[in-house]
């Protein structure tokens, strides 16, 4: 029989915080898996899908080890198997909708999700395959910044028992050397790294004052509008007299863009980055409508 509900009762709504907390703490969960519960949940998920549950269950300490095993078993690459992962506690977000309607509202249509729900509450990423199930442990450590993004200035932002680790600067993936050995990060790298977001992170790790000082950068022109920016010149090992525009973006973060050597003002440099080079264009460039 199908139950249809049009709105939640006050009692059901009052349980939102309980489910929210459960889902968040579960998603951020660390420590050893409850393997018995995870395997039972996996078996229930297979049953809900009408598939026989494989006899062979493998356990690994990280999703990296898990994806490699899944790839070996299926004769595919890890890249092939990565999108096929069921993400265990890291998919608590979407599973929480179903658990709310199942547990708080008694909607039986959500019942088939129960096995998956049990895995999200007891283990990390897993691969349900035809002949085997590959299951993995949760991280051992998760570190975040005040904005809840993965972040650590001194070590991995996420670690697993087998040593697999992720290095993040305020949510952004950065080379692990920048975090583990910041002294190896040179000012010229921070200004010339190909990806602009990582370049910004490098500049934040090093500090702008230190970068400009290390490169003996000279300010050529500073505009009164920080979103137009400040133009610098510095001698880089393979690019003497390189000009840079340091500019604040609509999200309030400072970026650095190498610009063409003929530019003499921050305004002209900023306009150049968007391809505005004629005299009339540069003057009207300052009167922009909106910048976010």
């Amino acid at each position: 029989m199908t139950t249809k509900i049009d709105k939640l009762t006050p009692e059901q709504e009052a349980r939102f915080p309980e489910f929210r907390e459960r889902c968040i703490s579960n998603g951020l969960g660390v420590g050893r898996a409850d393997r018995a519960r995870a395997e039972a949940g996996a078996a229930l998920a297979y049953k809900a899908a009408g598939l026989p549950f494989p006899k062979q269950i493998y356990w690994f300490d990280s999703p990296l080890a898990g994806v490699k095993k899944a790839a070996e078993l299926c004769d595919k690459t890890a890249s092939d198997m990565y999108p096929l992962a069921s993400r265990g506690n890291h998919e608590s977000g979407w599973v929480s909708y179903h658990s709310f309607f199942l547990e708080a509202c008694g909607l039986e249509i959500c019942e088939p999700i129960r096995g998956l729900m049990n895995v999200t509450e007891s283990a990390g990423w897993w691969w349900p395959l035809d002949e085997a199930v590959v299951m993995t442990e949760r991280p051992t450590v998760i570190r975040r910044d005040a904005g809840h993004r993965l972040h650590s200035a001194t070590g991995p932002a996420m670690e697993y028992a087998d040593g697999f680790a992720l290095y993040r600067w305020h949510g952004l993936e950065v080379p692990k050397e920048w975090i583990l050995n910041p002294a190896s990060l040179k000012a010229e790298t921070a200004l010339s790294w190909p990806n602009i977001e990582q370049r910004r992170a490098a500049a934040e790790i090093l500090g702008w004052a230190k970068i400009l000082d290390a490169l003996k950068a000279k300010s050529i022109d500073k505009d009164s509008d920080p979103q137009i920016g400040e133009l610098f010149v510095a001698d880089l090992p393979d690019s003497p007299g390189q000009k840079f525009l340091r500019v604040r973006c609509g999200t309030g973060r400072d970026f650095c863009l190498p610009v063409a050597p003929h530019l003499m003002t921050a305004l002209a440099a900023n306009a150049w980055t968007f391809g505005f080079e004629k005299a009339g264009e540069i003057e009207s460039y300052r009167n922009y409508e909106v910048r976010t």
Partner: protein, 113 residues
Amino acid sequence: MKIVKNKSNGIVFQGDIAMMRVDSLPKDAKPEETQVVAHSETGHHHLAERAKVFSVPDGEVLYMQALGKSIDIVHKRNYDTHETIRLLGEPGQIWKIRRQREHTPEGWRRVED
């Protein structure tokens, strides 16, 4: 959300894209099956909602045409998000879109994010 009024004539910026009203589409503009007006390597695309996107052979700029009286430019990132911009105008309004670039010893290249 920031609103840009109909018939405004200043440039509109969202992160590394700049948008300006133009009178017409170039003759060689080709319609694209995408809403992405700025592709991001890290998946943080800028999308144009309620607009048809066009490319041109030189590949340096894009165009978009309003399907109704407004286009929303949305940045798909859940942190450090560039605020959504609603561009008001008449249905059919054409906008030109430029991406930000930077200098390299070999010339210039598009900014990667």
